[in-house]
C-alpha cells in the first residue's frame, strides 16, 4: 500500500497526475477528477497515508478520523472534502488543492515584525473559530497544518488528530499517550482531554510565540515528562527575547499560553478580535513581564499543576456559547436617554449570564469628508473622540471590567452596511440595536430593519415599552 503510485494510474476514477509532496505520514499527489464529475471544477489533491507493516497502528486510526471529521467540515477555512478511499482496498483522501503558502514558510523566517504576526495570527484564529463553530477541535495546530491564501485568509489542513463532538472519539481510548506535536500541544491534551476548543487557542499561542520570537515557548520535548513540564513551567517572556515586541502582543501570546484553559481567551474569535484591534488589548502584568516570576509564583504554579484539573467542557458549542461576542449598536448621534436605557437593560441581561462573554459598543458616524470642508482630518478626530466619550458613558453603568469591554467608532455613510460588515468580520454572535422610533414612516429603510434581515448573527431589536 505504501508503494508510490505511478502517474496515469486511475483510482476510483481519479487520475493521478504527479507527486507533489512526500512526508512522514503520507504522499500527496495532484489528481484529475473523474470524467463524470463536472462539478469538481477546482484543482484536486489526493493524500495517500502510509499504512501497512512497519507503520504504527495509529496511522490507520488517524486516517479514519481524518476522513470522517474532514468530511463533516465545510466553509472557506478547510479544503473542500471530495472523497475517501476504502481502507481495505486503497486508502486515500481527495480534497481541494488550496492555492497559497504553508504558514511553515513564515515560521522558517521568524522572528517576524509584530504587525505581521498579528495579521497572520488573526487569520489563523478566525479559521479555528470557523471549525470550532462546527463542533470540531483541531488538536494539531502548527504552522505546517495551516495554509495562507493569497488574500491573507487561513485554511486548516490535516484533521487526523481532530475531535468531532458528535462522533465517537476513535483515538481517545485506544492510545493512552499524548497525541499532538511537542512544541504546540496543550497541557490538557497531554493529560488526554480532547474536546476543549481552548486547546487550539493554546497551540495558536505557541505558533504566535514562534512567529514573534523565532523560538518555541516550551522547546520541543518528545517524552511525556517533557510535555508535562508545560503544566507549571512559564515560557520566557517574548519581550525578553525581542524587546521590540509590544506589550499588547506579549499579553495576547502569553494569555493564549496559560496552563489553565480557563485563564486563556475563551474562544479563538476573541483572540482574532484582540489581534485585529491592538489598541483595545488590556495589558496586564502578563504583557509587561520581562523576567520569569520569582520562586513564590513558581511554587504556586507548581502546586496548581500538581492538582491540575482540566475544566470540564462538554463540546465546543457549549464553550462558544459562554464565550460569545455581543455588540451593542449605540446611536450616539441621536442622544435619547430613554432609548439608551432600554438598550442598556437588554445588554446587561445578556452580559450577566456568563463571565466569558464580551461586549463591544459600536457607533457609526458620518465620514469626516462629509463634514466641514477644509479641516477634514481635525474635524474627523474630534468627532471620533466625541462619540467614543459618548460610548464609554453609555457603557459605564454596566460595570463591566475593561477586558470584557471594547469600543469602536466606525466612519461610514451607510450605517447598516458598516454594522453588518463589522459583525461578519469580527465573528459577532449577537447584535443588539434600537428599533426605529414608533412615530416615523418608512420603517423598512431603517438601519435596524436591514441589520435584522441581513446579519450573519442573532439580532435583538430593542424598543421601549408602548406608552412609556
Amino acid at each position: 500500500m505504501t508503494r508510490p503510485i505511478e502517474p496515469g494510474t486511475v483510482i476510483d476514477g481519479f487520475r493521478v497526475e504527479a507527486k507533489v509532496h512526500a512526508g512522514g505520514q503520507g504522499v500527496i499527489y495532484r489528481v484529475a477528477p473523474p470524467p463524470d464529475r463536472p462539478d469538481l471544477d477546482f484543482p484536486l489533491l489526493m493524500k495517500v497515508p502510509r499504512l501497512g507493516p512497519g507503520e504504527p497502528s495509529e496511522t490507520v486510526v488517524t486516517y479514519e478520523v481524518e476522513t470522517t471529521v474532514h468530511a463533516a467540515l465545510h466553509g472557506p477555512h478547510v479544503p473542500r472534502f471530495v472523497a475517501a478511499g476504502d481502507l481495505a482496498r486503497q486508502p486515500y483522501v481527495v480534497m481541494e488543492a488550496i492555492q497559497g503558502e504553508s504558514l511553515k514558510a513564515w515560521a522558517d523566517r521568524a522572528p517576524l515584525p509584530p504587525e505581521e504576526v498579528a495579521v497572520l495570527g488573526a487569520a489563523v484564529a478566525t479559521a479555528l473559530h470557523a471549525v470550532h463553530v462546527q463542533e470540531v477541535v483541531h488538536l494539531d495546530v502548527k504552522p505546517a497544518n495551516v495554509i495562507i491564501r493569497p488574500d491573507g485568509s487561513a485554511v486548516l489542513v490535516d484533521f487526523g488528530l481532530a475531535r468531532h463532538a458528535h462522533y465517537p472519539d476513535l483515538l481517545a481510548e485506544e492510545f493512552r499517550h499524548p497525541m499532538g506535536s511537542g512544541p504546540y500541544i496543550s497541557p490538557e491534551q497531554v493529560l488526554g482531554v480532547r474536546q476543549d476548543p481552548r486547546s487550539d487557542v493554546f497551540a495558536l499561542g505557541a505558533v504566535l510565540y514562534q512567529l514573534a520570537t523565532g523560538e518555541y515557548p516550551h522547546g520541543r520535548p518528545t517524552s511525556v515528562s517533557g510535555l508535562r513540564r508545560r503544566l507549571w513551567h512559564l515560557p520566557m517572556s517574548p519581550r525578553r527575547i525581542r524587546p521590540e515586541i509590544p506589550e499588547w502582543l506579549q499579553e495576547v501570546i502569553l494569555r493564549c499560553l496559560e496552563a489553565q484553559a480557563a485563564a486563556r481567551y475563551a474562544s479563538a474569535a476573541q483572540v482574532a478580535s484582540e489581534l485585529s484591534h491592538p489598541d483595545q488589548v488590556t495589558v496586564t502584568e502578563r504583557g509587561r513581564r520581562l523576567r520569569r516570576p520569582g520562586l513564590g509564583t513558581l511554587l504556586k504554579s507548581w502546586i496548581m499543576a500538581a492538582g491540575y484539573e482540566p475544566s470540564p467542557v462538554e463540546r465546543p458549542s457549549q464553550q462558544l456559547a459562554a464565550a460569545s461576542i455581543v455588540v451593542a449598536a449605540v446611536a450616539t448621534q441621536h442622544k435619547n436617554e430613554q432609548r439608551f436605557q432600554v438598550l442598556r437593560e437588554v445588554v446587561q441581561r445578556l452580559m450577566a449570564t456568563d463571565e466569558d462573554r464580551r461586549l463591544t459598543c459600536v457607533t457609526v458616524i458620518r465620514p469626516a469628508s462629509e463634514l466641514a470642508g477644509g479641516k477634514e482630518a481635525e474635524a474627523g478626530t474630534s468627532q471620533r473622540i466625541k462619540h467614543l466619550v459618548l460610548l464609554r458613558h453609555w457603557a459605564e453603568p454596566l460595570g463591566l471590567p475593561p477586558d470584557r469591554l471594547t469600543y469602536h467608532v466606525i466612519e461610514s455613510s451607510d450605517p447598516a452596511a458598516a454594522l453588518l460588515e463589522y459583525a461578519k468580520v469580527n465573528q459577532v454572535d449577537h447584535l443588539v440595536i434600537g428599533a426605529p422610533p414608533a412615530d416615523v414612516p418608512m420603517k423598512g429603510t431603517f438601519v435596524s430593519t436591514r441589520v435584522a434581515a441581513e446579519a450573519t448573527c442573532s439580532v435583538t431589536v430593542v424598543r421601549p415599552r408602548a406608552g412609556s
Binding site: E64, T68, A71, A165, H166, Y167, L170, E173
Partner: protein
C-alpha cells in the same frame, strides 16, 4: 437502504405511530423491531396490528422478554408491575396476536446486520447491555458488523477499538454518525414506547447502509394520551407516570 430500528414499543401506540411517521419523513425503505412490542402500555392489539402490517411489507421482528412472557406464560423473573402488565396483556390478545408473539425469533441476521433484543451472547438470558463490558461480550458473540439492540431504554453506541475493548459513545439526536464497516458497532436504539432518560420523547434510530451512518432520533409524541389510556385500563399508576416524566 435506510432502515428504521425500533425497540421497546411496549404497547405504546402513540409512541409507535410518531416514530413510524418520523421514519417515513426520513425516507426509510424498511422497518425492524428489536423486541418488546408489548408490556406496560394499554394498546397491545393496535400495536401488534401495526407491526403485522410492517411484517407484511418485509419488516424483521425479534422477540423481547415481555413478548416471551406474554406468549409463554413465564413472567416469574419480572417485577410486580411488569408482571401485572404481562397478565393484563395476555388476556386481551387474540389467538392471531398470540401466534405472532410466539413465532418471534430471538435473533435475526441479515447479511452483516444482527438484531437482538438483549445480548447476542445467550440472547434468552435477557442480559442488559448497559456497560462496555457487556457490549463487548455481545459483539464478540456474533460476527455481525452492526448489532442493533434494545432492552436497555437509553440510546447508546458502542464500538470495538483496536484493543477489542468496546468504547461507549452517547449520541446526539439527529446527527448522522459515521459507522464504517471496518469496525464493529453495537447500538442501543432507545425505546419507542417508554423512554427513561428524563426526556419524554420517543426514541428510535435510522441506519443508512449505503453511507454507513447511524442517526439516533428523538420524537415528541402525545404521551398524555398514552398515559390516560394506561389509567383507564386500570394498569399500575406508575406506568402512566413513567410516560409523563420520561423516566
Amino acid at each position: 437502504m435506510k432502515l428504521a430500528l425500533l425497540a421497546d414499543v411496549h404497547s405504546n401506540l402513540e409512541g409507535l405511530r410518531a416514530c413510524l411517521e418520523h421514519a417515513r419523513e426520513q425516507g426509510v425503505d424498511g422497518v425492524a423491531f428489536v423486541g418488546d412490542l408489548v408490556g406496560y402500555g394499554a394498546d397491545p392489539e393496535a400495536v401488534l396490528d401495526l407491526v403485522g402490517e410492517q411484517v407484511a411489507r418485509g419488516a424483521a421482528v425479534v422477540r423481547g422478554n415481555h413478548d416471551a412472557a406474554v406468549a409463554e406464560r413465564g413472567a416469574d423473573t419480572m417485577n410486580r408491575t411488569a408482571e401485572a402488565a404481562v397478565g393484563w396483556t395476555r388476556e386481551r390478545l387474540s389467538p392471531a396476536h398470540q401466534a405472532l408473539l410466539a413465532g418471534l425469533p430471538l435473533t435475526v441476521k441479515r447479511d452483516d446486520l444482527l438484531l437482538v433484543h438483549a445480548s447476542a451472547d445467550r440472547p434468552a438470558d435477557w442480559t442488559y447491555v448497559s456497560d462496555p463490558m457487556r457490549a463487548e461480550q455481545s459483539l464478540l458473540a456474533s460476527d455481525a458488523t452492526w448489532v442493533f439492540s434494545g432492552h436497555v431504554h437509553e440510546q447508546m453506541l458502542y464500538f470495538l477499538g483496536a484493543g477489542a475493548r468496546a468504547q461507549p459513545f452517547k449520541p446526539t439526536p439527529g446527527v448522522a454518525i459515521p459507522v464504517p464497516s471496518r469496525r464493529r458497532w453495537l447500538a442501543i436504539v432507545g425505546s419507542a414506547g417508554q423512554p427513561r432518560d428524563g426526556n419524554t420523547a420517543a426514541a428510535y434510530a435510522v441506519f443508512d447502509r449505503e453511507r454507513a451512518t447511524l442517526t439516533f432520533h428523538r420524537v415528541p409524541y402525545e404521551w398524555a394520551r398514552a398515559a390516560a389510556k394506561i389509567r383507564a385500563a386500570g394498569l399500575p399508576e406508575s406506568l402512566a407516570r413513567r410516560l409523563e416524566r420520561g423516566e
